[in-house]
Symmetry: C2
Subunit: 196 residues, 2 copies
Amino acid sequence: MALPIITIGRSFGSGGRLIGKKVATLLNIPLYDRELIALTAERSGFHETVVEQMQQDRPASLLYTLTHTSIEVPLQDKVFFAQTKVIKELAAQGPCVIVGRCADSILEQDHHTLEVFIHAPLEMRAERAEKVYHLEAKNFKDLVKKKDKARKAYYDYFTHRTWGKADHYDLCINSAIGINLAADIIARAARAMAEK
Amino acid sequence: MALPIITIGRSFGSGGRLIGKKVATLLNIPLYDRELIALTAERSGFHETVVEQMQQDRPASLLYTLTHTSIEVPLQDKVFFAQTKVIKELAAQGPCVIVGRCADSILEQDHHTLEVFIHAPLEMRAERAEKVYHLEAKNFKDLVKKKDKARKAYYDYFTHRTWGKADHYDLCINSAIGINLAADIIARAARAMAEK
């Protein structure tokens, strides 16, 4: 069997993107992360800034939706549907690594996938946000928690799964065990699936 | 650094015990699973049957506790405390694999640990309960769900963590990727931790 499509969900600041990059290099397959923003923008006609913002916002609450009813599909949903198409097209081209974007849920029915979730202790992620991502914040732990909250809300809204619940994934890894080790484990699991 | 103590939590029927056994063989370290029942019985003075039953029962509800107040510590708590002592003594002797028994939470503060959670799809676990464990049930899926519910209640009660939530563990593995592969991944991570 071919290598699986590897989807990587990740808590903010856990190094999931870097791990994805290393996995793609180890397996010599394409990585899609921020590239998806440009592709979605191209397909949907929205500007890249809009696409990016829509993925970082928490979806509108039910109360908001009920009080602002309209026959128009919300912008965030439109962007999500455009991105879903992009992800399905890329997956149809062969094995790859896709970081975030609910790709695990989008591809689970039709594809041979290895679904991964990367997390790390809060202290480590706060440090990463400050020293590696060079973000600005008064309190980095609060920033990380806020980003996680938005990711969870976005994921739970669009997938009807629960973000970070172990049994939704094939592998969940605490990146504190080591970024290279995490990438090795994922690549090893993917190769083993290809040999089945 | 030495090999870590490997704790393996697992959903019912996921093959966590078998994976633990394979990891212990790969690393040539002791495995403690059902042995803990005998050791706890010995230390606490309770019969093995009582110890085993206490670990399978859901802890008493708050309502029950409030309406049955007594100065006596509940039997389940007594057994848990005795087992906690046994686990700490074993951990002090050196690297080992401990299956279940909230060992992850018991040892997290004082020991060099690799905390693992094993799960698998419901269908696979129901089949395992029937064909590998040779249990009897009208509906094996219901049996597995009921066992999980009791494990979760027991774990959440005694640890104040949430059973099966990815970020409590270093590695969560869906055993559907392969029992041997899962054992290999855990052993590899343990060896990498020892080399740090």
